[in-house]
């Protein structure tokens, strides 16, 4: 039995289905990230777990106990809000202690708990300040402190880093990860940032239009996306997706890609679908991550299937650590990730090394991975 179980959860507003039957579970000490574009229902899902929104159908269980109909305060769940939601009229200490105060915890115990949490989050010197006197990062810490101090069964984070600037966001991300490792708490975390999802999660659930697209470990989601949406949404730069066609050549199945000049590029079938029979002439979408397309020298030595393809360079984007090289294959822009010092200029035709161990193939009709 998993720690948190969500079974066939549906949420309707009038005739609009926001969540269309979600099934999810999470083990104790797990870190589940709900990720998806705006309006996919991820925040609604989080709010239903918190009890801030009612559900139309289904069941939510924590440690086997149904919590559907419990008031938010009775669920033993703490939440960190996107806007931090610190009470402006109270000091930091007052904010952290408010929940305990409402539960009738005596003052000496409250003070002890505040001191302990303040130590963990290094906000001891801020306790007497009002939220308006804090920086964004400090507010974020106080909001986490308010959740931590209650020592709940489950933590919910609703896009907690989206209001911070880029550098602080990275710092706080590390801090949240460290906090999770140190406390072993069970966390459900909502974000639209796929990098946050990849770095923090032990389990990722990708949502779109109120439906789960894929649930799995970050590696599974990244390397074996179950459909085109997940492939495109996760990863930056996005996965290269090219139109291709299955063909028979010398008795074995190959993939044909159209290059910019209108010629064909022939690639062997990737290992991920080698066992499947592809009818000749079948339309396919060939997907490969930018880092699986490199210059010849830096191709992965452990790979069993490197294919070198000559192609025309359209754009070169040096990004510091890497250089992104854009070419055109299968009618689409294709981004390759090369060494920072790769000697490439726009207009040249250079060899691109495709690591087919990392390639995947999708059905263009329903978008599923084959």
């Amino acid at each position: 039995m998993a720690f948190l179980e969500i079974e066939h959860l549906k949420k309707r507003y009038g005739s609009v289905d926001i969540l269309k039957g979600i099934d999810l579970d999470l083990d104790k000490s797990g870190f589940l990230v709900l990720v998806g574009p705006s309006g996919c229902g991820k925040s609604t899902l989080l709010n239903t777990i918190a009890g801030l929104e009612t559900i139309s159908e289904g069941e939510i269980r924590v440690e086997g106990n149904k919590i559907n109909d419990l008031h938010p305060s009775k669920r033993d769940i703490a939440m960190v809000f996107q806007s931090y939601a610190l009470y402006p009229n109270m000091t930091v200490a007052g904010n952290i202690a408010f929940g305990m105060e409402m539960r009738g915890v005596p003052k000496p115990e409250r003070d002890k708990a505040i001191a302990q949490v303040a130590g963990t989050l290094q906000i001891g010197h801020l306790l007497e300040r009002k939220p308006s006197q804090l920086s964004g990062g400090q507010r974020q810490r106080v909001a986490m402190g308010r959740a931590l101090v209650r020592d709940p069964k489950l933590f919910l984070f609703d896009e907690p880093l989206s209001n911070l600037d880029a550098k602080l966001r990275v710092d706080m991300r590390v801090e949240i990860k460290r906090l999770h490792a140190a406390t072993g708490k069970t966390i459900v975390y909502v974000t639209h940032d796929q990098i946050e999802a990849m770095t923090l999660a032990t389990k990722i659930a990708v949502l779109k239009d109120g439906e789960l697209q894929q649930v799995g470990t970050p590696a599974e989601i990244y390397n074996k996306p179950s459909n085109l949406f997940v492939a495109d949404f996760m990863g930056s730069p996005a996965m290269n997706l090219m139109q291709a066609k299955a063909a028979k050549e010398n008795g074995r199945t190959v993939l044909k890609l159209l290059d910019a000049a209108g010629g064909d590029i022939t690639l062997p079938v990737p290992a991920s679908i080698a066992s499947q029979e592809l009818a000749a002439g079948r339309e396919l979408i060939f997907g490969i991550r930018p880092e699986a397309i490199t210059d010849k020298d830096s191709a992965d030595r452990h790979s069993r299937a490197i294919e070198v393809v000559d192609a025309h360079v359209e754009v070169v984007e040096p990004a510091g650590a890497d250089t992104f090289v854009v070419t055109r294959l299968g009618g689409k822009e294709v981004t390759a990730r090369m060494r920072a010092d790769a000697d490439v200029r726009p207009g040249e035709t250079i060899p691109f090394a495709f690591n087919l161990d990392r390639a995947v193939v999708f059905d263009p009709q329903d978008g599923r991975r084959l």
Binding site: L52, F81, S83, N89, G99
Partner: protein, 311 residues
Amino acid sequence: MSAASGQSAAPSGAAVVSRVVIYGLLAIFALIYLVPLFVMLVTSFKTMDEITGGNMLALPQAPTVAPWLRAWGDACVGLTCAGIKGYFWNSIKMVVPAVAISTLLGALNGYVLTKWRFRGHKLVFGLMLFACFIPFQAVLLPMASVLGRLSEFGNVLRDSTGTSLGIGSSTANLVVVHVIYGLGFTTLFFRNYYEAFPNELVRAAMMDGAGFFQIFRRVLLPNSLPIFVVTVIFQFTNIWNDFLFASAYAGTGDVMPMTVALNNVVNTSTGTVEYNVNMAAAMIAALPTLFVYVVAGRYFVRGLMAGAVKG
């Protein structure tokens, strides 16, 4: 940006002229507003001889507070000549509870209409808003009938328990009228203010275990100072200055509020008209609202603007 700063550094002739016109007009209108107040003030400190013999705008030759003391202590209101002090306290006893109750209920209404929405909340708010547009005169008779029932109830209560708890007294009646009439306005103010109040704060308090009234008292109210000030000023001024309800439901005897008493002071015709005493009485009648404005005024504009941008 650069053009504007250049202009202010070296003002052109046209700009100077337009400034002069603007400030000139402002000064003229300020004068028009202030002259009556000035006349009232100087007159209230003059003796009757000086008033009848001198210039209306002249400063008092021998300033005296006698007219103020007379207005407060022994001016004649109708047939009794005990000054306006009793009526002043009548008004205070009516205004303070009426303002407090209508403001708190308005805050509660605003809280429910924005943070605890129910089916038909828009209709309810629309109807409350409608209360703002009902003319006083339209409710005079039905309200008199309601207050009559209230007085009967007060009598029954006194007969059975020995005390009516003030129910049915003129002061209590006026409090009831002003609370009911003011609710539309106070609800409107607070609803618009709370509309812009972040829902996440309420949700956070909910998760922290706070109940309906705890959220209201600990989270909403402490963050409502600007709109409180606006509502209190608005309600205080309206209720204090009300004449129609006061004269209709408490128009005679010892129960008159200040406005009605002032009217009677001025209308009392025994011998000469004591302009200085009348002016002093009018100033005394205006002081509480002035006091509220001065004390709370700096929040007034801030509160009026709050929530005006969003929602």
